[in-house]
Structure formats: structure tokens, C-alpha cells
Amino acid sequence: MTLLDVQDLSIVYEPRGSEAVPAVKHANFSLEQGEFVGLVGESGSGKSTLGFAITRLAKPPARISKGRIIFDGKDIAEMEDEDLRRQRRGGFAMVLQSGMNSLNPVRTVGNHFADIFAAHDHVLRSRRKARAKEMVDKVKLPAAVLDRFPGELSGGMRQRVSIALALSLEPKLMVFDEPTTALDVLVQRAVMETIRDLQREESFTAVLVSHDLGVVLESTKRVLVMSEGVIVEDGPSSQILNNPQAEYTQMLLSHYADPRAEVVELPGLEVRGSQITTSTRSGGLTGSISTDRRERKAHDPIVLTRVSKIYPPPRRGEDPVTAVDDVSFVLEPGQSMALVGASGSGKSTIAKLITGVERPTSGTVTFGSLDVGTLHRSGLRRLRQDVQMVFQDPYSALNPLHSVEYTLMRPVVNSGELRGTAARTRVLELLEIVGLTPVEQFAAKLPHQISGGERQRVVIARALACNPQVIIADEPASMLDVSLRAGVLALLEDLRQQWGVSMLFITHDLLSARVVTDQIMVLNGGRVVEQGDTAQVLRFPEDPYTIELLDAVPQPARAGPAEEIA
């Protein structure tokens, strides 16, 4: 039986005072009762817009310009507000990306359930408590959470609660909009498992909207691939995985690999064993730069000796938080090292300690002859000539009001004697190094005029502007679409090879760690649990935590429910 039928649906965004932008173009598909379907696409592909539209949550400036959505035999566009509200039970429900933040902080979880039962009156008054218990049990939470406030639960638990709330409406159709994107890798895996189990047991129809083809292929039986508002491919998971038809799907798939494999290849980046070769295409390095290699080569190691960082207790009566616990390592000049771990493992704190943003509670951090922990203003300035950072979020790392030229000009002017024309020349040279050509055009642009990947290149160029010895890259590619990720990683790798800078690569993504680093340190709860050669550690992990992290990497090939995939 067809539950949802989308016919020739087009959606446009019509912001006031600017031109209308088409977000979804002529979408046609239908969902059968009990199907679990994935909706995949990169940012801006219109997948979330489509997800919102089929649950009738699309809001201005989005507008359905054409087509119909038939749910259970009724056109949802014609529903009155009260009908719509009533059918939220037993009709369609949605779990949002930030669903964990959509709980009311001053009401207990139990009250949230009570509100829903009261609004729809579909559970007998005497049964409500028991029903709420059943619901949280279904998402694998203890009954005790009903008495807790949302603030007392972790992100993963809150996301489970919001799934349970949606489920308590007994929907026929559930739309999950990036339900695990804001969660930590390990939690993401656990929540996805819950969703999969629930779907199988309750057999509601589910749509999983995600940017991550790996996650989708692991869970769903059928996948719709969207690109620029168009559904480019619609087929069973096994076909998408083994025999993708659309070029776009093939491109997406090519960016997945198993970090445990003997040979890992990504477009533009390949790793054979521990021998690393990269393409020179992405960097656009010119001969004149490589001749300066000797001058620029990093010569000072970063040495951490028994470093601990303990933060004071967040609230009175609680224990102090140990973010980093007795960590020692040496980042040799020119080496690239990965710091991996789930969130809260202390990897970002280590970056803060190295850059002098925080001071260690005990132990020492030294860079060459500088003792980073004791530096004050002028010392920190000197340190930052040599140690630079690449930030995680390219959207917040650039001042929206400054042109690219100004952003790059400042570190050039601050770090050397270059002024005027010479400084401008240097800025253009930096743009050329990171592959933003034609340089004159990019120099004049403002951040909102360039894409996320280009922004991240500007951030990298800024880090290079004062000829640093060390670059600390904090999840440099995690906010980017997969197709851009490889480009940025290739650029970082090229720079390290050609310029001989050392790199500390902080990430939770083991695949990118595998392709750009030689050494790896796995952190868990502030302690180093495993370290060594990257390929060695990832191929033959010893610590259970490392194995757990590796298992959490989404694998298109490791298809879950679709048994027919061998």
C-alpha cells in the first residue's frame, strides 16, 4: 500500500527583497507502508526542504510552487490547521537534527510525554505513566529519565527522548532529519542502531535525511540521492552501493573507504601502506616555492612532558574535571600526527595547551626553547608566529565584513617587515598556494561570496601567512561536504610535504587521519590509550577503545538490514 505519494513537487525559497531560489525541482516518488528510505545529498541539495515539506512543516520563505503531496490518500496541502494538528498523532512525525535542544528545559521528560498524551488524548489517563515508561524503554533508556530535566541528560539521551516523543504519537510516517549529525561518533552509532531496531519492530514508514551516504546505506533499504534540488537516483541500497547509476552517486561513494584497509584511496589522495603520495593538482604549488623549502623547514619540536589539565568543578559539590591526564609526546619537526578520540577525550584541550590559550595544571609544554605554559603577552606573540591554527568551522573563522585580502594582509603585516606592495604580493602568493585562482578576484571577495571549501582554504592561507613551523588543524574538514573534504585534506598534506611544516591533526574521523598523518595518538578520557604509526594502529588496533572508534565509522559496504547484500 502506498503511504506517501509525492507528485511533481517543486519548492522555491522566496526571501523578501531578493530573487526566488528553487530548492526542490520536480520531485516524484512514493513510499510504501513500512519502508525505510534514505534521502541523501550534500548541503544545499534540498533534502531537508523536501523532508520538511512532506511533514507540512515548510515555512515561509519556502513555498510549494507546484505539485502535490498525497499522504494516506489525502492531499496534505488542503488540510486545515486543526486537521493537521489532529493527524500529528497517527500521521506523520519528525525528529529534528537539533531535536535534543527542542525539549523544554524547565519540564521533566515525563511532563513532555504527559503533554503529548493530553493534547491528543489517545492513551487512557490511567495508562499514561505506564505508556511513557514503555516508550523510553523502547529507545533503550531507563525509566528513571522520566523524572529528570532535559539539562540533566546527555545529548544522545536527549535525542533518544525526542525520538521516543515522536514515536509516542504512533506515527505512520517518521522523518528523521540528520538525527545523529550533532552527536559524537560513538553515540551516533548507538542512536542509529536504536532507530534501525525500532523501525524493524514497529514497522512504521521512515525517511532518514542525511548528508552521510555511509550512515544511510548502513540503515536503509532504499535510497534517494538528491543533488541541486533534483532526485538523481532512486534505488535499492544494494544497487546504489554496488552499481550506482548517477555520476553524482558514484562521486559520493568514491569518498568512502575503510580506514582499516591495507590501501586507502580517496579522490586526490592516496595512501599505500604507510607510503603516502598526493596529487600536486590540488595545491597548485609553483617551483619558486619549493626552492624555499630549506628556509621554511620546521626545526623546533613540540614536547609535552607529563601534561595534565584539571578544570575546576563546573558546579559546587562536583568533582574537578580532568581534561588531560598525564600526556607526554613529541611532535618532531616536519611530522604529521593525528590526535583522535570522541568528544570530551581532551584532544581540543591539548591544542589549547600547545597554543598557550590554556596553561597546564602540571607538566610542561615546550616549543623549541619556549616554555609555552609560562608565556605572557609578548611571548605568546612570538609563539604564534610559529604555531598557527586551522579552525573547524570555516563559517565562523572569517570575519564576515573583511575581504579575503584584508584577512590575509593582517598576519603578513604583523609578522614581518612586508608593507604595501610587497605585502599585497605576498597575499596573492598565498592565495595561489591554496589554489584560489584567479587570485586577484578572490582577494577582493567577502566571505559570504565564496563557498565553504573556499573559505577553509582562506583559513589555511591565513595560517600559512606568517611562515609557521607548526600547523594545528582542529577538525579542518568535518564541517565540509564529502566532496570538498578530500580537497582540503589534500591541500594540507601537500603543504606539509612541500613546506616541511609539522602538523597536529585533531579529528574524530579516522579515515582522514589515515590519509594525512604518519603518527597517531588515540585519546580516551584525557589519557593516551594507543599511539604509533597511523597505518599500523588503524589496521591492527589493540586497545578496545580504538576498535570501538573504528567500528563507529560508517561503512557503506557493511549494510545492515538489507540481507540480500552479500
Binding site: P60, N399, L401, H402, A423
Partner: protein
């Protein structure tokens, strides 16, 4: 190395490159123009702008527009409206219409100057307060709170009475002293939230000084807030000036809407049927303050694009 790069990397790249500037190429102006267009696109704000423009024109061209000098008391006393004196004359024999037109000068001037000065102080103190941490921030916090808890009007009256005879400068000074603290507080909280953004950390990593970070990185991102706080401060200044003059604390010789009200009250204008004497300056004060408030609706749209999306929600 400098030489080398310049000679090697630039064979033919800059045939007619414009003169090199270290500052950003003119975004401040484009931002201003875009901001003005946004304000203009809000109907309420457009009305406010037109209203303000009328008052500014009145103030600037007062000598040309006004039929007589405001201090010319050679006419009959307390005359009703006539062709020669549209609004009649005062108890001292001055032309009311001329006084209203000349009075716009003081109100507009005090509004602009006092508004600018108190915004300037609010920006300087609010932003450095928001950016610094530690002991100094606590000291500023204490001072600002002190100014916030003192009731404004009594303080103004005391100060004005103490500085009697200081004229316009005194009024402006009093208004600024009592009016900057609220703006400083608002700007501080925005500075604090911007301070945590990555691009500020990045600026620190580029070796920027604190001064530059505050005024080149943070300040431009707060333009709309500062504009809003200026219009708010200007409105408050206009009202405060009128209030002080009405209480007889303004300059005795000057003609402003507030002093007109003061004299009208003294001469019991209402009892003699000369309601225009009270009504005209009162309405002008209200309209000028309203125009600035209306402009602020447009400025709201600047800082919060969601307010521009339309009513369809």
C-alpha cells in the same frame, strides 16, 4: 626573501593594479549604503526619515523660513493667530511660529550632539569592558552599575542646577553623563558574545593588538546595534533637553521648545486661550522623538534579518 618573492612571483600579474591599500577596499561604504537601503525599505522607518528630514531642514534654514527673529518682542502681547502671526504672539510679544522654527535648532542640535557623544562613550567603555576580563572589568562593571541605579531625572536636575548658566554645553554635558550607561551595557554583552567567535581567536593568532581586534574586527560587526543605540540616545537627549528647559534650567536667553513651554506655563497661556503656545512646541517634541523611534524600527531590521522576512509566519 622579501625581494625574492616580489621579483619571482610577479612577472605580469599587476599591469594596472590600483594603488595598494592595507585597509579593506571600501566595504564600510557599501555596508552603509546597504544599511540605509534596508532602513528605507521599512515603511515605518521611511516615514521617520522623512519626518526627521523636515525638522533638520527647519533647523538649518530657520533664518530663511522664519518670518521674524524669535527674540523680536516688538509685537503686541498675547495676540491671537492672524495673517501676520499665524500662531499668534507670546505674553512677551514674540512671534510664536518663528520661535517654533528656531526652537528646532536647539532640539536637533542637542539630540545629535548629545546622542553622538553618549554613543561614543558607550562604545568605548562597553567594548573595552566586554573584551577585557578580570579586575578591570569588575571596576568598570561597578561604575556602570552606579550610573544605572542613580535615577536619571533627579541627577540631571541637580547637575543642571549646579551648573546654572552654562547654556547649551551644560545641557549636553548633563544629558551625556546621565545617558551613556545603558548603551554601554548593551554593547558589552554583544562584544562578549562576539569575543568567543573563531575569527577573533584567529585575529589573535595573526598577531593583532587588542585595540585593533576591538575596533577593526568586533566593532564593524556591531554597526546596527550602535546605530540603534545612537537613535535611542538621541531621543532620550531631546526629551531630556525639553524637560530641563521646561523646568527653567535651560539657558535663560535661548529659544527652545522646552523654554517656550516654560514661558507659556508661566504666563498661564491655557487660561488666556492661547493653547497653540503649549500645543505647537509640545507636538514638535513628540514628533521629533517619534521620528527617531520610527527609524529604529528599520535599524532593527538591519541587525535581525528575520524581521525582514515578511509577515507570512
Amino acid at each position: 626573501m622579501t625581494e625574492k618573492i616580489t621579483t619571482e612571483a610577479e612577472p605580469g600579474q599587476r599591469p594596472d593594479a590600483p594603488p595598494v591599500r592595507t585597509a579593506a577596499p571600501a566595504p564600510p561604504w557599501t555596508v552603509l549604503v546597504r544599511g540605509a537601503a534596508t532602513v528605507w525599505s521599512v515603511p515605518k522607518a521611511r516615514f521617520g526619515v522623512v519626518l526627521l528630514a523636515i525638522f533638520v531642514i527647519l533647523a538649518v534654514f530657520a533664518p530663511l523660513i522664519a518670518p521674524y527673529l524669535p527674540t523680536d518682542n516688538s509685537f503686541g502681547r498675547s495676540l491671537p493667530g492672524s495673517a501676520a502671526h499665524l500662531f499668534g504672539t507670546t505674553a512677551a510679544g514674540e512671534d510664536v511660529l518663528s520661535q517654533v522654527i528656531w526652537g528646532a535648532r536647539i532640539s536637533v542640535l542637542v539630540g545629535m550632539v548629545a546622542g553622538l557623544l553618549s554613543t561614543l562613550i558607550a562604545v568605548l567603555i562597553g567594548m573595552s569592558w566586554g573584551y577585557t576580563r578580570g579586575f578591570l572589568a569588575d571596576v568598570i562593571n561597578f561604575v556602570v552599575n552606579l550610573f544605572l541605579v542613580i535615577p536619571g531625572l533627579p541627577l540631571m536636575i541637580v547637575l543642571a542646577a549646579y551648573l546654572q548658566g552654562g547654556g547649551l554645553t551644560m545641557i549636553i554635558f548633563v544629558v551625556v553623563v546621565t545617558g551613556w550607561a545603558w548603551g554601554a551595557r548593551v554593547l558589552r554583552s554583544q562584544t562578549q558574545s562576539l569575543r568567543g567567535r573563531d575569527f577573533i581567536t584567529a585575529a589573535q593568532f595573526s598577531g593583532e593588538s587588542s585595540f585593533r581586534i576591538v575596533f577593526r574586527e568586533i566593532l564593524p560587526n556591531m554597526t546596527s546595534l550602535i546605530a540603534g543605540s545612537f537613535f535611542g540616545a538621541a531621543t532620550a537627549a531631546i526629551l531630556a533637553e525639553s524637560g530641563l528647559s521646561f523646568l527653567g534650567l535651560g539657558g535663560a536667553g535661548s529659544v527652545s521648545w522646552g523654554t517656550m513651554l516654560f514661558w507659556a506655563q508661566n504666563s498661564n497661556a491655557i487660561l488666556t486661550g492661547q493653547w497653540v503656545l503649549l500645543f505647537a512646541p509640545g507636538l514638535c517634541i513628540a514628533l521629533l522623538a517619534t521620528s527617531l523611534t520610527l527609524i529604529n524600527f528599520g535599524v532593527d531590521g538591519l541587525s535581525n534579518p528575520r524581521l525582514r522576512e515578511g509577515k507570512g509566519r
